[in-house]
Point group: C2
Chain length 667, copies 2
């Protein structure tokens, strides 16, 4: 059994397979267009459509990557001239901030957060607003182009007339129906309806809903758990005696927490895949097609929530329930809710996004996709070797046949995981693009590898799948279009609520003395009278250089000397109004533009629609001609018969109905 070693290399390719391998399934071919027609010929339409879709998506990522890089570079270039971060770094002792935790934390100078503030300008600048509008239109354009490409492929692959075949019920469904029938017979009931009603399905549905709710709760608990970990660890580390530990609290905590998040996501992802399958089997869908659709929907829902819950938390909830100095919000006993870094939550969102996206791509897509099949193969090989040794010492010298080699390969388990991976990535590229303009770049890099990796897997690591004819990518299109729509409102909220874009605008046009951003930092910080700190929460033996009377915190609240001290100030409400107005404006503008793009690009390419029209009329002509010739022939036979049989009383009877063909030809 030594022939197995380096098996992938030694497979005896047949011609098509070899061509595919050479032209497509290796990294060296990354710059080439995919040979879609060959793929379709070898794997069938369904897999052909997947690779065509993946190719178009990857192609579309190129312009968005370019624009994303330009937006990022714009951030780099304008970083130096950004007045707020400059003010924050320059005016070293201007702002004495309130302590970040009770007792053990001291007052601190805002200028120490100078670096984060500068870094956050990279992602928090006006160009990202433009970029998220661009990406929303990009998503619409991509979907439109896909519709057109699908039409074109459908035409060339002769799928336009493909009807959904008569769908056979799944065996599981038939078993259930038979069981019901038997039960009804024993109960001596008359009504023998041979299908499952909603009464039969009710328990399955209930289990489904309950399980999905439970799973979503589980995801949220995981996110909450990580938050608690972050809060407690931060508190624990900040009372540490070690100076260097204390100074790196934020970095340590953030990094470890994100990694925990990532691990949780990866584990739950696997579990959810299995759960979705189990739940769908519980539902007993009638046909294979509905089974697949429901499985996909459930798996998507669970995996989507799983992948994005921590990101949503950072984007929209973190740092919003902190309370204020003197009246903090506590979880459990004495742990303050966590705040965002002084540069704003956007920076943290960006870190979270990039780590989860990159980690997921690297670990799940590449490591899992290459590693686990390899391990499985190794395991099977070992098992086989052991059994083989016992069995057959006689034909020891026989060279393994091609079918043995092919059987050694992994079985094909469907395209769902491939699509799912890409759809979740599409979510990263569109949903939070306002906070992470480099997402398309990473997606592009991943996909260039992914295409070839998948190709290699399909060509040389999996058993050749049964070819399936399929007209379109089915429910995945709906999911993509749903994500595209959802991304508009999410981006609107990220820009208006998470980033500092709106407060800056409001300051510049409503509060600034001279229309510049000078004084913005001062404007966003409220005053707090340190004597109002609750007893027991003041910093223990403060070593801050000055005597502190007022400390500052980031919020729009009334100062201590106002009659309504520490209430939300008028600025708070006016900024909030501006934020919400921006959401409405952004959402409706982008939706309108998307509708316009959708309306302007016809779903069927013009050449294809003309071609189809032409072919239809040609087909009709051809049929008429063919028919005409046949009838003429029959007519000629009849005429000749008549001629010959003249005088004869009895010939072979020609069914009278055929005379009408002759009549038709004559008229």
């Amino acid at each position: 059994a030594k022939g197995y070693k380096g098996k992938n290399r030694h497979i005896e390719f047949n011609g098509l397979e070899e061509l595919l391998y050479r032209e497509w399934a290796r990294y060296g071919a990354f710059y080439k267009y995919q040979p879609i027609d060959l793929i379709r010929k070898y794997f069938g339409e369904k897999i052909g459509l997947y690779f065509a879709w993946l190719g178009l998506y990857t192609e579309f990522l190129i312009p968005s990557s370019v624009v994303g890089i330009i937006v990022f570079l714009y951030g780099c270039i304008t970083m130096e001239s950004d007045i707020p971060s400059k003010e924050m770094c320059d005016q070293e002792k201007a702002f004495t901030m309130c302590p970040l935790c009770d007792k053990s934390c001291d007052y601190w100078n805002l200028s120490t957060a100078c670096a984060t503030a500068r870094a956050s300008h990279l992602f928090d600048n006006p160009a990202t607003v433009f970029f998220s509008i661009f990406m929303a239109l990009w998503a619409t354009m991509f979907l439109e182009q896909w519709k057109r490409l699908q039409m074109r492929l459908g035409y060339f692959w002769d799928l336009t007339g493909l009807e959904e075949e008569e769908e056979h019920p799944r065996p599981e469904y038939e078993t259930k129906v038979r069981q019901k029938k038997l039960k009804n017979e024993t109960n001596k009931k008359d009504n023998i309806d041979e299908k499952l009603t909603w009464r039969d399905r009710m328990p399955g549905y209930l289990v489904n809903v309950a399980s999905i709710l439970f799973m979503i709760t589980l995801t949220f608990s995981a996110v909450f758990g990580v938050t608690v970990y972050r809060i407690t660890t931060a508190a624990a580390l900040s009372i540490s005696k070690n100076e260097s530990t204390r100074s790196n609290v934020r970095v340590t905590v953030t990094a470890t927490a994100v990694i925990i998040n990532l691990v949780v996501i990866l584990i739950l992802d696997e579990i959810y895949g299995a759960v979705a399958k189990w739940l769908t089997e519980m539902e007993v869908p009638k046909t294979e097609k509905t089974f697949e659709e429901r499985l996909i929907l459930k798996a998507f829902l669970l995996k989507f929530v799983n992948s994005y819950a921590p990101i949503f938390y950072v984007a929209f909830f973190k740092g919003r329930f902190v309370g204020r100095p003197g009246s903090y919000v506590y979880v459990f006993d004495g742990y303050r809710m966590e705040e965002c870094a002084p540069g704003g939550c956007l920076m943290e969102l960006c870190i979270q996004l990039s780590i989860i996206m990159l980690g997921k791509q690297l670990i799940q897509n590449n490591l899992f996709e290459i590693g686990i099949p390899y391990l499985k193969m190794l395991f099977r090989k070992l098992k086989d070797e052991r059994t083989e040794k016992k069995e057959s010492d006689s034909n020891h010298s026989r060279h393994p046949q091609q079918w043995d080699l092919d059987y050694m390969l992994e079985p094909f388990t469907g395209l769902t995981p491939e699509y799912m991976e890409m759809i979740i990535q599409f979510g990263f590229v569109t949903l939070f693009v306002a906070s992470f303009p480099l997402a398309p770049v990473f997606a592009l890099l991943n996909n260039v590898i992914e295409v070839r990796l998948d190709a290699k897997k399909f060509v040389s690591e999996l058993r050749r799948p049964d070819t399936v004819r399929e007209k379109d990518i089915g429910i995945w299109y709906n999911i993509l279009s749903g994500i595209g729509k959802f991304s508009v409102i999410i981006n609107a909220f990220v820009i208006s609520v998470t980033s500092d874009f709106i407060p800056r605008l409001v300051y510049q046009y409503a509060y600034s003395q001279n229309g510049t951003m000078h004084g913005f930092i001062n404007h966003t910080l409220s005053y707090f009278n340190v004597s109002h700190l609750k007893p027991g929460t003041q910093p223990d033996n403060s070593q801050f250089e000055q005597e502190v009377v007022f400390c500052r915190y980031k919020d729009y609240r009334e100062p201590p000397w106002s009659p309504n001290q520490y209430e939300f100030s008028k600025q708070y409400w006016s900024v909030l109004s501006a934020r919400l107005a921006f959401v409405i404006l952004f959402q409706n503008l982008v939706m309108f533009l998307s509708a316009l793009v959708d309306w302007m690009i016809p779903d069927i390419p013009k050449d294809i629609s003309e071609q189809i029209k032409k072919e239809k009329s040609m087909l009709v002509d051809f049929f008429l001609k063919e028919e005409h010739e046949k009838l003429k022939l029959i007519e000629s036979f009849i005429m000749r018969d008549k001629h010959r049989n003249k005088g004869e009383t009895k010939g072979e009877a020609i069914p009278s109905q055929y005379y009408r063909y002759g009549a038709m030809v004559v008229t």
Copy 2:
């Protein structure tokens, strides 16, 4: 020519026409379903689809009318218990309001506006929020059901396979192409391309865009003109010496202004119809179909803006640029911008809507549709009579023939006006339904008459139109769906910005001492120190019973004793935030629900899709059988021929290609 009198009665119906008249085209049949199949048989598919659509729309108006009436009744019943209007009416001398105009107006008690406040509760209550969500879903449901009905009709009328026919260019287009060709030939240019490029079309497009912009500006100027009329007349009337004139200023001005608006709308509507046609001809579209589509789009755009501009003005702009006491906004010289009545702008919006909607329906649809054709006929009859008298005294006694009578009828000018009328009505029913829940009721009443009126017109007053096969209602569907989407955001803004719904909620949950609405009126009124009135704007010889130090006005501004006197107060911004948050919530909720409804109702009814599938397989079977029989026949002929010709060296040559039919049958 006496036979012409009472012509409509005396028309000799052929059988179908008589049946249609009896079963459909009279008011007595209003409760019956329309005999759609008969209509289609007599008028063709295009007109059949119109009446099917109109029927479905009218049917759908029934539930919405019922819900609308319930919502209205809810307003009536809760009117007594509405605390704010009660407070306004009961506390007679609690609120001294600032004068409504300079000099000639006096201070006044808010309790005098008690009646309007109570009336506005009819339309400004929480039930309207529910109703506008209901109507948004109603619109989606209606469109879905129409898609299904269209499918069903398409199936039964055998339109499913209807391909768009080869479209012939319009003669105007061909003329233009020929002109271009001639010009190119005289200029001795080589390129003879036989179509118009964008260069040839450029002037047409430019004229189009310019004209449409001009027309829209015209509409806005008309609205502005009426506003100016309202402001100046109000000012003029309020300095009148006549007591009764002065007390009825608002009613007089509003009523006359709305009537002027209505007249302007009616006149411009006719003009715009002609302009749209002229502009489309200028564009030289290639085919009849594109001509119709572009005409419809243009006419719709112009008529939509025309019908709704005054309503949009009242809903979103009126009373928002008034300024504040002491710093009013003036137009021209010394005329203050108009304010809404103390009950809020919603009441005025409701009046505006109902008068324009009812007036348009009554005058345009019924008077114009019945009256103008009648006048035209009368005019033609007179002319004909005169010419006839001169011409033919000889055959004076001859009874007019059917073709004479039919020629006497009006020519058919297309369905566009009929659709347009209904689409604009659909706009009234959906766009501002939050402010006028009775709109569906009025629409329903109108349509019950409209169906029969149109029917009568088509059967007995117009020449029988050429039947046109058409698969769907074309661009009208897109316009309907566009209105449905637009209505969501419009209703969101009407509820949040025009009505008092949000301020009430905010007061109840954020400012009220005991969670009730007591004190709401006081909360919405700001204080103004009368000594701050600009010199020359104080009331001349005030006859108000008390000495006035502070007067009140409806706005959220700081009181005179605040350091930032008369600036927008914190309440203003918090209410504004709540309003905008409501818009976001409402819009996204309704859009989500609509998408859900859209997704849950399949586009093709299940029975139809099954039927189609079945028929397709039957058709294939039939063809195969037919083919098989024919081939068998040919084969039998061939066999017989061979048999007979045995020994004969030469028979009639049978083309060899036909042998393969035989082979096909044998295998």
